[in-house]
């Protein structure tokens, strides 16, 4: 796996670099002492795994993840286990290691990164070029066509997802992760672990929620920056 290290502490970079070189599954392609330089690199180069420090001056590890459109897998590195809960908000984060990093713990995290389905890092499709304009869902043994543009939002409902469209609602046995991969990312955005919305259907946004038709949808703190970025703000 092509890997990079992002940590402002030279000592940490040296240790992680050593652990990477001792692991035959990893290839260290570059290392960065700040997030901004790393973002520039990631915009031009594909990597499979980032070893990312959370605590960095000016721009934290979480800020970096939010900036990337399709972040690769991430192993968080920090001296503070209190951030573990925040880490669960991001699908790309496969593990979380508290400094000082032992070889055993490091290799366990790498193993986890390798075993995570590659679907996490899948490049999402655009509306027309690759996926067409619709998707088919299996309901009562019938494949029903739903046009992307008619979908208002998708809501997680346990083992099911509820797809709300202009005309009617469909309850489908599937997961948020699966449908997220099928939906074009220029139209849809996950704004909460239980909601994906069609951004063209937004009526208004207020603090931590968006209004779509009559539905008030919560926006999680981690997804809010991406939502704001999508808006054509005056």
């Amino acid at each position: 796996m092509k890997s990079i290290i992002i940590d402002d502490e030279k000592m940490a970079r040296a240790i992680i670099g050593q652990l990477i070189s001792a692991n035959k599954n990893l290839n260290l392609v570059s290392e960065f002492s700040n997030a901004i330089e790393a973002i520039k690199f990631l915009n031009q180069n594909k990597v499979d795994l980032i070893f990312l420090d959370i605590h960095m001056p000016n721009f934290t590890g979480f800020d970096l993840i939010q900036t990337l459109k399709n972040p690769p897998k991430v192993i968080l590195i920090t001296s503070d286990k209190n951030f573990a809960l925040d880490a669960f908000e991001y699908e790309c984060i496969v593990d979380y290691i508290v400094k000082p990093i032992t070889p055993e713990r490091f290799n366990k995290a790498v193993q986890k990164a390798m075993s995570v389905s590659s679907s996490n890092g899948v490049t999402k499709k655009s509306t027309e070029n690759e996926t067409g304009k619709e998707l088919y869902v299996n309901i009562d043994r019938r494949l029903i066509k739903i046009n992307f543009e008619s979908i208002k939002l998708v809501e997680a409902k346990g083992d099911y997802i509820l797809i709300k469209t202009e005309g009617k609602n469909y309850t489908v046995h599937s997961t948020m992760k699966k449908i997220e991969e099928k939906l074009p990312d220029d139209l849809f955005l996950k704004i909460h672990r239980s909601y994906i919305i069609n951004t063209k259907k937004i009526i208004d946004i207020e603090d931590n929620s968006v209004l779509i038709d009559n539905d008030v949808i919560p926006v999680s703190r981690s997804n809010r920056p991406e939502l704001i970025k999508r808006l054509n703000l005056l």
């Binding site: 402002d8 502490e9 030279k10 000592m11 940490a12 040296a14 240790i15 050593q18 652990l19 001792a22 605590h55 001056p57 001296s79 503070d80 400094k99 000082p100 032992t102 070889p103």
Partner: protein, 106 residues
């Protein structure tokens, strides 16, 4: 009382590679004074949340030297700083001095 260091972690990491062990110690010797200076500047600026960030960073180096009690002091000091409280400042600064002394001897 000054806590004694323990290089077991560095030895585990370097796995007998003395060159690498020396490289890590050299980085430690170079980076620690910079971080201590940064810490002192932030203390002077009286912005305790920034001091907390600095202490947070220093904790890694404390752990690398195997200074377990000192690490606990640093963790509690970091918590205090986040609450705008300077309790344990003197104890923490003794830890820093002890680290400087240790690195002079290694």
């Amino acid at each position: 009382m000054k806590e004694n260091h323990n290089l077991a972690y560095l030895k585990e990491l370097s796995d007998g590679d003395e060159v690498f062990e020396k490289k890590l110690l050299d980085i430690l010797k170079a980076e620690l004074p910079e971080e201590i200076e940064e810490y002192q500047n932030k203390i002077r600026s009286n912005s305790l949340s920034l001091v907390a960030e600095n202490v947070h960073k220093l904790k890694h180096k404390i752990s690398i030297l195997g200074l377990e009690k000192s690490y606990e002091i640093a963790s509690n000091y970091e918590k205090n700083l986040k609450l705008d409280n300077l309790d344990l400042q003197i104890e923490f600064e003794k830890v820093l001095n002890n680290m400087v002394e240790i690195l002079k001897k290694i």
